[in-house]
Symmetry: C2
């Protein structure tokens, strides 16, 4: 687990950790069934408090990216997208797109940006 935290960022640490782990899955570094480190260990590794990791893990659970139990710890298990996810995705996306549109960025330019990010995950396929 290589997670770099930017303490100057306005993005909360537990959100940065959540993002980094989802990135790890997207890049294929973390696969279904893989275990994440115990919260105390990861906390020491990246130099933050145990509860901050715990918060990140529970957020990942709520978002449907991992399961947590005492037997196996935190295990990558991705719930596919559903209606609720699509709704929250739209709500997140809308103000971002609106800002870009108002600033003169046309549809094609925005789509190019999206394609560029998607290409980072290359030919990777989700099972």
């Amino acid at each position: 687990m290589f997670i770099k935290i930017d303490l100057t960022s306005d993005v909360p640490i537990y959100v940065q950790i959540k993002n980094a782990i989802i990135e790890g899955i997207a890049r294929g570094e973390l696969k279904e069934g893989d275990s994440l480190p115990p919260i105390r260990q990861l906390a020491e590794d990246i130099g933050v408090n145990m509860h901050t990791i715990n918060k990140a893990y529970n957020l990942l659970k709520d978002l449907g990216f991992i399961t947590i139990n005492k037997k196996y710890g935190a295990v990558i298990q991705v719930e596919g997208f559903n209606g609720a996810f699509m709704e929250s995705l739209k709500e997140e996306l809308r103000p971002i797109i609106t800002e870009a549109f108002v600033k003169g960025m046309d549809r094609d330019a925005f789509i190019k940006l999206v394609e560029g990010i998607y290409d980072d995950f290359g030919g990777r396929r989700n099972e």
Copy 2:
């Protein structure tokens, strides 16, 4: 100005107001040169504190959507996108796209979603 605030939302009120005003520009209801209501008036209209409006206006100014001065108040004046905007846009977009990708949403499905939102602003053109 028709701004509806969702007090149960986890999105701060001043951000909701900022988003609503940018939406207004995108929909063509607010045009370059138009003045926004005085902060006290808008505050009373939507039932929030003066400082909350002030914060929203100053955020809009920092983001390059309005200018503020005592003579003309808050006036719509959109700064076109630049490198800094593109960078922050990418940073905002990346974790959202990554989540969608990991959940099995492919590039084309995501782009369709983007196109749907762009279509809300119809044939409108930004000068």
